[in-house]
Amino acid sequence: MTILTHNQWSAISTRFYKLWVVTIADRHGWQLAVFITGALLVGALAMWMLMSVPTRFRKPIVMAVTFLGGLILALEFLISTDTWHPLTDFLPAYGNVQMVIGSFALLLGLVNLFMIHAEAVNKRTRGWINSFAFFVAFFAIMIAGFVKDYAAAKAVSGSADSIYTVFFEGFLMPLSSTMFSMIAFYIASAAYRAFRIRSTESALMMITASIIMLGLVPAGQYLTSGLPGWLYWLRLENVSYWLLTSPNMAVQRAMAFGIAVGALATGLRIWLSLERGSFFDRQL
């Protein structure tokens, strides 16, 4: 079941390709500057036109762009040819464009972080020292990174590299892994003060959890290593492996089929902008 054979596809795409090459040939020197400012002007014009679009056309535009964004990946899969077709060749470039545009969103999170901390520093509210420390840390590692890469003098970039490494391995890595490791303390205190076996359900869950926890570590294997040969299947590591690969696998797959259909439903609702209703209208 094929719509267009491979050479028909390539015939069409080569014609487009020639047209494309002429318009986007590389420019250098002053020509480059002209083309870049030209592109900037065209972009600014587009933004201005977008701003003056009447409200009743806004929702259709957002719906159309959302739909088109997904169309390329959907068609790339749904159009079936025996060998290959240009949409697949287009994906690496499509990925690069998404990567670049997406990276510009990095400063989004920073804008309100800067607003909050700048306000704290200006108004000297309680704990403004912390906001000041935020700025120092922010610019210190950024400047060390850039100086490390772009400094001319070997010694300057060498010492910047050492400072950058101290900031990264001495502060950023330990802070983030320590922050995340705190949850182990909360689990321990919850284990003693909050995990209650109140019903058969929680009993079943706790027994399974204990077997699997013991089955993965040497202590568990040692506990049941005394069992004679023919009882090997009662050894903790084997019971834990069976639990994980048989009942747990079946149950995870049951939940997965629910998530699979759920993901398809959510994807459809987003792709076709079907999310409507009292709360969603206000936000999306």
């Binding site: 959302t66 001495g170 922050m179 009942p247 792709w271």
Partner: protein, 275 residues
């Protein structure tokens, strides 16, 4: 001058890193005892470092090589349109034109949603396929049949639990759904055990650093500092250093006495007015 600094930094950077890492670990764990300024300060340093590092790495490994270099050095001028599209994100902050940011957010959400068709095929068709387990593998009925029956019983009862559009009145459906919730507990028990193991591994990683990396480093450093102190205290060569240190110490003591005396007066005046 920078050569000596670069040399010293390069030489000592490992011990500096270990000491800073230990300091950060103690600062964050101090919140376990009680909320304190030390923790609050290092938390903000963490957020600052993470964001600053994000800007540096995004430029040096994406925007630089994939946008700036092709646009400026290779003459591909059309990359400027990517910057224009990227600027649409920031309309989120304007109250009149916030809808323009929804265009670019919509585009990225659409791209993710567009992949659902291939996603369903590549991930779940093999799952459906491998769920078709023969009741008599290899043509003979035996242990294979038992494990296949166990598999089907568990999977179908767990799936029945998640049906919402018809009532669970019929006894067969109701008991299957009840059994389904019990079998789900095995799955959640596995997740519980695995999560406990994962979180403990992270904590063990930090404690291992403190005990097996920082402690020996601290030990050798204190021994070196101790030897230096003994040298300063006893060697004749450092006489002038000993004298200046003594003077400094005396000055410090005097300042401290004055400081505490004044704090005492302030406290008296405050309590005095209250009575």
């Amino acid at each position: 001058m920078t050569e000596t600094m670069a040399g010293w930094l390069a030489h000592n950077s490992t011990s500096i890193i270990i000491w800073c890492a230990a300091l950060c670990t103690f600062a964050i764990y101090s919140v376990l005892y009680a909320e304190n300024r030390f923790f609050r300060l290092f938390e903000h340093i963490y957020i600052g470092l993470a964001s600053g590092y994000g800007v540096y790495i995004t430029w040096s490994e994406i925007l630089g090589p994939k946008w700036w270099i092709p646009m400026i050095y290779k003459g591909q001028w059309y990359w400027m349109f990517a910057a224009v599209a990227g600027s649409m994100f920031y309309f989120m902050y304007s109250n009149r034109h916030v809808w323009i940011s929804r265009i670019i957010f919509g585009f990225f959400m659409g791209v993710t949603a567009g992949g659902m068709f291939r996603g369903f095929y590549e991930v779940y068709f093999p799952q459906i396929g491998s769920s078709m387990k023969p009741l008599a593998p290899g043509g003979h009925w035996g242990w294979g049949t038992v494990s296949a029956v166990v598999f089907y019983a568990l999977m179908f009862s767990a799936m029945t639990y998640f049906f919402f559009s018809f009532e669970h009145k019929h006894p067969v459906v109701a008991t299957t759904a009840k059994a389904g919730r019990w079998f789900l507990m095995i799955g959640f028990g596995a997740i519980f055990g695995a999560t406990v193991m994962g979180r403990l591994t992270l904590l063990i990683g930090r404690l291992n650093f403190l005990i097996n990396t920082w402690a020996p480093q601290a030990e050798s450093d204190t021994r070196r500092i101790w030897l230096a102190l003994v040298a300063v205290a006893t060697w004749p060569r450092f006489l002038w250093l000993r004298v200046s240190l003594a003077v400094l110490a005396a000055l410090l003591v005097v300042l401290l006495v004055i400081y505490f005396r004044r704090r005492q007066d302030l406290k008296q005046k405050a309590t005095g007015t209250q009575d």
